[in-house]
């Protein structure tokens, strides 16, 4: 586990809720949860969550830090927004789940084999290269995310689909070479680099105290 994680454990020793409020996107909403369970009942993948959203919120208040941040559950959100529009207290639950997932990733606590965590990272890395998503490269990266042997199997399984996509002009093998991009790529990268610096500076304010 990373240095940042150790420092955060030290800093927020007595309150995981405070840690979430200070460091997780929209985390300040967690304490508003009234445990009604509408979110858990509304989630399309609810039956697959080890801990559905309602439980995650209670676990945060109960200080179950590792159980929450190492959970596969926070990577189970399809972003359907059912929970958001139904929550009687109007918690932005979708965003809190994304925020918890991102925080877990920053701390290096993501379960190693979780496919959505891998895919979500690939998506971000892919779009950051050229400013636009390269679907072909993203698809290939996805096939091979569990190694070469597994990748060949997945690719073969999807071969017919790939051919159909190409035939209908909805997949282009030429995207492997270059592909679509923003024109002011240097400007795009400068803007995103600055945004990341500012984000890091804000995190450092909440993070480990100086000299820790």
């Amino acid at each position: 586990m990373g240095e940042l994680n150790t420092a955060m454990i030290e800093r927020y020793r007595n309150s995981f809720l405070k840690e979430v409020e200070a460091n997780v996107e929209e985390g300040e909403w967690v304490k508003m949860c009234m445990q009604c369970g509408v979110c858990s009942g509304s989630c399309p993948l609810g039956k697959f969550w080890e801990h559905p959203p309602q439980e995650i919120f209670m676990m945060i208040r109960a200080g179950k830090r590792e159980a929450v941040l190492q959970s596969e559950s926070v990577w189970m959100c399809t972003s359907c927004y059912n929970c958001i529009v139904r929550c009687p207290r109007e918690l932005p639950i979708t965003h809190i789940m994304h925020g918890l997932a991102h925080y877990a990733k920053r701390l290096g606590l993501v379960p190693k084999t979780n496919p959505t965590a891998k895919f979500a990272q690939m998506f971000w890395d892919n779009l950051m290269v050229k400013g636009r998503v390269n679907e072909l490269k993203l698809g290939l990266a996805l096939y091979f995310m569990n190694g070469f042997g597994d990748g060949i199997k997945v690719a073969l399984k999807n071969q017919k689909l790939g051919m159909a996509m190409m035939k209908t002009g909805r997949m282009n093998p030429k995207e492997a070479f270059g592909g679509h991009a923003v024109k002011d790529l240097a400007g795009f990268h400068k803007v995103l680099k600055k945004a990341q610096e500012l984000e890091d500076a804000r995190i450092a304010q909440n993070g480990p105290p100086a000299g820790a």
């Binding site: 996107e25 399309p44 993948l45 399809t78 972003s79 359907c80 927004y81 059912n82 958001i84 529009v85 139904r86 979708t94 994304h98 925020g99 997932a101 991102h102 990733k105 496919p115 959505t116 895919f119 979500a120 990272q121 998506f123 971000w124 890395d125 779009l127 950051m128 400013g131 636009r132 998503v133 679907e135 996805l142 399984k157 017919k160 689909l161 159909a164 996509m165 209908t168 002009g169 909805r170 997949m171 282009n172 030429k174 995207e175 679509h180 923003v182 024109k183 002011d184 400007g187 795009f188 400068k190 803007v191 995103l192 680099k193 600055k194 945004a195 990341q196 984000e199 804000r202 995190i203």
Partner: protein, 299 residues
Amino acid sequence: MAKREYSFYPGCSSQKGASSSNYLISVQTMCEELEVQLNEIPDWNCCAASIGYAGGGELPRLTLSARNIALSEQHHPGQDIVATCAACWLSTREAAERLHEDQSLLAECNTALAEAGLKLRNETPIKHMAEVLIEDLGYEALQARVKKPLEGIKIAGYVGCQTNRPFGIAGESYENPKYLDKLVETLGGDSIPDYEKKVQCCGGALAFSEPEKSQEMVKGIIEAAYDHGADLIVTPCPVCQMNVEVYQDQINQTYGTKFQMPVVYYSTLLAVAYGRSAKDAALNGQIIPAKALDALAAK
């Protein structure tokens, strides 16, 4: 009537050779007929959709959308932004609202944008194309141009998630939106107002990472359409379209079903009803051909 103009955010999946390039073609045809002029935002970038959150923190993600809005405000001042992709629309509108509520985030965003000489004023309304059709133009105007009514074609209106929640279309409910049904009726087709899977999630981006879980949900969406005797499904979202259309072979293998249900965009329906060719309606982009529409377009 003077042309309506919008600042257009097409999004990654609509680019040439990408998974919803057929959507863009039918939208362009539809807009020609409706005298709507789409001015593409110059040099737009990806919005990070709803799956960029692993690598992308709050500010970098918001900055992606802020760059697009800033470019739009610079090059197309006074024009509303319109997106055809549900995820593009949602991310952009969400970013605009978050930056409106949090002035310190807005200030940071503008510090980042200044690196490329851009500035976000954040005063631009952000719409989905379905809002343009239903709120700006209205059903009457849409009906006035129908040359080939979709007579005898039964269509399940699959609204899905992100065109519906958390923003949606004015006056529609989250749980039972009716605008696709009304649109189908407007074009002379037979709607299925009690299509119970109309707002069921298809899995979104998890169709890639958790295919079994997603395909189980898609199976329900298609099965319900068959139960109602639908000839095809119509949707306003590129992720819905792709997930519900292209995995039917795999679903048939897993579950022993014999699904062969066409899934089209609303823009394809309009293009055909307005008398345009199969090519202009992008019917050649269907992996599962929409035969009823092919036949009508050929008439």
